[in-house]
């Protein structure tokens, strides 16, 4: 809930200000180069920091008889303005120690003038200034809500700068760039806002207004260099000094220093009046320097970079939002008004395709439908029909967006009778086919309000026939009209890439073989990712773990007699080309920073590890426990692993055989080595599991036993911290 508040405000603010923000950022990038160009001319004199006004002011008056004022800019260049003998006013940069002319200031480029006016006021004067002020203020709120979103994403302030989970380009860099540049953007926004607000504050009084003209003396006459106040003031604190215009006694030296303004009697050197600058004024000056980057070249360039980041944020932010909106939460009706509810459970979004298709059809027929995640189950006062479409995760578990369903059903007993129908999605090749769908059925049977309209329907391998079977039955029973959506009849061929077979082995005694592909389109595949292949060019998809070996995608395949995927792969010969899709598997990656990795596999589960071991350039000690039935099935990997051992990429190898010799499973072997396992976990090492789900269960039980020696609570924690990684099927 809290997340959505921050996200919602972050998005609302961004939408309401993005147009003006874009203008401000683009012009801001350009304007940042103005101080950089200025500074690059470097008229700063070497003696600048040691001089006092008593040395500088008389000298410049002597060198420039028509002198009107001397000023020091943010780059500490000393500028003299004087009436030239040949007529007209002149401005030159000088060396304050010698009066030597160093250069002539150039006029502000028309481009910068134009950009400044656009940046400050959009060419629409006061209204524009107020608009840009509001934009700056919104930027503060965007930055602050952004900071909180990062904190939430990273589970606390402590992890603010720790690794970000890599999910899609826009999302990843939105967060990664965000964390660094947020603070610079906040500085831009705060100073910009303050300058806008400052316009409505009273300006500080002028020292000249405090002069009592009747008290001005003309004696004792002093030399300019003898004026105490000039002797006590270093040149570095000067902003501007105006020489008296005439010999009239009421004329004076006007001196603007960093913190105050003075009027000095031109004959006696007495201070006629003094005005300290207010805090609000000094803060405005400070804001101006920081906001414009006049403080220094590096800061100015950082400002330019931060402005460029804002543009990237605008792009990536909207990209993320569009992606998030697509397919989901496009609800036309509210949950409380809906007659038909579609609740979806899906781990990687596949089931949404089906749910969305029927949602769209029902809406088109004018039905009041509401679609959401199973975890969002709540009170639905007007619901008559409930359709649950869900996949199953692992061995019969709830997908991550359905985990809270059981609790929520208990929490929200519905007030009226609701008819329901459950559709389970899965593949018959798993023993617990559609288990979670049946579990939901049991949950609903216990309630007083749920009435089944149909038994649980299962859809094997996203089969359109299976789905259309349910659809016919459901429309028949409920009276809603629907046709099989065409998009479900066609295979999901988006993102398919070409791969060509570079080499393969023949099936060994255990019918296992290795096949390698190369693909210019899949160079970014990483060991641990999955390759989805479509053996019949239809909706049926098979996933294989990738090991990246010598830049090739390598799969370890066990040939099953009627296996759809394995026999398809077995028919391939060197040079053949197939189409497949890469499925990223972020949670199963070789850890970048760890002291030790223990890899545990059985059978073809060794596939991703073969890639990870060859890529172990940092020589992190890896211990591999691999289980096979017979020694002969290991011969496929033996030469390769021996080479890795001799190279030092692999620290140790434990071969575990289940049908020969010691006849044990990897879990047994781990238990035997429990001291080493415990040591590894205690030192922050990582354990990776890949293979069958039953192996995962056995190994997890063993790990639980090993951990319970130390602290019974540790195993779930280790899983949560990513110290135990699993990819089992």
């Amino acid at each position: 809930m809290i997340i959505s508040v921050w996200r919602y405000s972050h998005l609302t603010l961004a939408i309401s200000s993005f147009l003006l923000l874009t203008i401000a950022s683009v012009t801001g990038i350009f304007l940042a180069f103005e101080p950089v160009i200025e500074k690059s001319r470097d008229y700063k004199a070497a003696s600048f920091d040691t001089l006092t006004l008593a040395q500088t002011v008389p000298l410049l008056k002597e060198k420039f008889p028509g002198i009107q004022e001397v000023s020091v800019d943010d780059h500490q260049f000393v500028l003299v303005k004087y009436a030239a003998e040949e007529g007209g006013d002149q401005q030159v940069y000088v060396d304050p120690a010698t009066g030597k002319v160093l250069g002539i200031p150039t006029e502000k480029l028309p481009l910068f003038q134009w950009m400044t006016t656009l940046h400050r006021s959009l060419f629409i004067h006061e209204t524009g200034r107020i608009l840009m002020g509001i934009t700056a203020f919104l930027l503060i709120l965007i930055a602050v809500s952004g900071i909180f979103l990062v904190v939430q994403r990273q589970n606390g302030w402590k992890n603010f700068f720790s690794n970000v989970e890599k999910t899609g380009f826009a999302q990843y860099y939105h967060v990664v760039f965000g964390r660094i540049s947020l603070f610079f953007i906040l500085a831009i926004a705060l100073t910009g806002t303050y300058m806008a607000v400052y316009r409505f504050m009273p300006t500080p009084g002028k020292a000249s207004a405090l002069i009592d003209e009747s008290q001005i003396k003309e004696e004792p006459l002093k030399e300019l260099s003898e004026f105490t106040v000039l002797q006590q003031t270093p040149l570095s604190s000067l902003q501007k000094l105006q020489y008296p215009f005439s010999d009239f006694p009421e004329d004076y030296y006007n001196v603007q220093l960093k913190g105050r303004e003075l009027c000095i009697n031109q004959f006696t050197g007495d201070i006629l009046a003094q005005q300290n600058y207010t805090k609000t004024y000094q803060l405005a000056n400070f804001s101006l320097r920081w906001h414009t980057g006049r403080w220094g070249t590096i800061w100015a360039l950082l400002m330019a970079l931060a402005s460029a980041y804002i543009l990237f944020f605008i792009y990536s932010g909207f990209a993320i939002t569009l992606k998030r909106r697509r397919g989901r939460s496009k609800n036309k009706f509210k949950a409380k008004d809906a007659r038909i509810l579609i609740l979806v459970g899906s781990e990687n979004g596949g089931t949404f395709k089906f749910a969305d298709a029927i949602y769209t059809q029902l809406i088109r027929h004018g039905e009041k439908v509401f679609i959401t995640d199973l975890s969002n189950f709540t009170a639905f006062p007007n619901a008559e029909q409930l359709v649950i479409m869900t996949s199953t995760y692992g061995q019969g578990d709830a997908p991550s967006n359905a985990k809270r369903l059981a609790d929520r059903i208990r929490q929200y007993p519905q007030g009226q009778t609701i008819q329901y129908s459950i559709v389970g999605f899965g593949s018959r090749s798993y023993s617990r086919f559609c288990q979670f769908a049946f579990d939901i059925e049991k949950l609903l049977q216990k309630t007083s309000w749920a009435n089944p309209v149909l038994p649980v329907y299962t859809v094997n391998d996203k089969s359109p026939q299976d789905f259309s079977g349910w659809m016919t039955e459901w429309t028949h029973k409920t009276g809603f009209s629907m046709l099989m959506p065409r998009e479900l009849l066609e295979p999901d061929t988006a993102d398919l890439k070409k791969l060509s077979v570079t080499s393969r082995t023949n099936p060994d005694e255990e019918a296992s073989f290795i096949i390698q592909f190369k693909s210019s389109q899949l160079r970014h595949a990483v060991s641990g990712d999955l390759l989805a292949i479509y053996p019949r060019n239809d909706h049926r998809e098979r996933l294989y773990s990738i090991g990246k070996v010598d830049k090739n995608i390598q799969l370890s395949v066990k040939l099953h007699e009627h296996g759809l995927g394995s026999s398809f792969l077995n028919h391939l010969q060197q040079g053949d080309i197939i189409k497949a899709k890469l499925v990223k598997n972020q949670h199963f990656r070789f850890p970048k920073k760890t002291k030790k990795v223990i890899m545990v596999s059985n059978g073809t589960g060794i596939a991703p590890f073969l890639g990870m071991i060859t890529e172990n350039r940092r020589k992190i000690p890896i211990e591999l426990y691999c289980g096979f039935r017979n020694r002969s099935s290991f011969t496929l990997y033996e030469p390769f692993l021996n080479k890795q051992l001799s190279k030092g990429n692999l620290a140790s190898l434990s071969l575990v055989l289940s049908r020969e010799e010691e006849k044990e499973y990897v879990s047994h072997r781990l238990l035997k080595n429990s001291d080493a396992i415990l040591q590894c976990l205690k030192n922050g090492g990582v354990i990776m599991l890949c293979g069958s789900l039953s192996m995962q269960n056995d190994v997890m039980k063993v790990l639980e036993d090993i951990c319970s020696v130390e602290d019974p609570m540790r195993l779930p924690e280790l899983v949560a911290q990513g110290k135990i990684l699993t990819d089992c099927y």
Binding site: A83, A84, D89, Q113, E126, P202, T203, F245
Partner: protein, 159 residues
């Protein structure tokens, strides 16, 4: 035909300006502003002829062309005459500040019925067409002239 006219104009302009330059006098002028709240003021100093019409822009104190149209009377003359003013622009002047400028004026215009007009405007505030007016006479330039708007007074000294 057009070309001939153009060259004639160019030639005569050149003649007039070079003839004028020989007899130009420089006047140092100090503008003391009142203490007022708000943005810096744009001040324009113009030479006004005997008929009370604008003849020449002597100085524009204000950097941004976007704001020139707020000084309406002068702007009308400016757009009509298409006078080049980029050489005589400078910074605007804040409340309570003073600015010193050197004006180059044709000596023949002194004591010949001309006036120096100081008009001023502040963003989103009042515009003063005749904030201060100084008769271009020996006596007028010697005196201190009070302003009616953002300008407190104007003072000259020859050089």
């Amino acid at each position: 035909m057009k070309l001939i006219i153009k060259s004639l104009i160019a030639f005569s302009l050149f003649f007039i300006s070079s003839a004028g330059m020989a007899q130009t006098s420089s006047y140092k002028c100090m503008i003391q502003m009142n203490s007022y709240q708000g943005e810096k003021a744009y001040v324009i100093i113009s030479l006004i002829n005997r008929k009370g019409e604008y003849e020449k822009t002597l100085r524009v104190l204000g950097p941004d062309k976007q704001w020139f149209n707020t000084l309406k009377e002068w702007y009308k003359f400016q757009t009509k005459s298409k006078e080049k003013i980029s050489a005589v622009t400078g910074a605007s002047i804040g409340g309570g500040d003073r600015a010193v400028v050197t004006l180059a004026i044709d000596s023949k215009k002194l004591n010949a019925g001309y006036t120096l007009r100081f008009e001023s405007a502040v963003e989103e505030k009042l515009y003063h067409t005749k904030d201060a007016e100084v008769p271009l006479t020996t006596a007028g330039l010697a005196a201190k002239t009070d302003g009616k708007g953002y300008i407190r007074y104007v003072r000259f000294s020859g050089s």
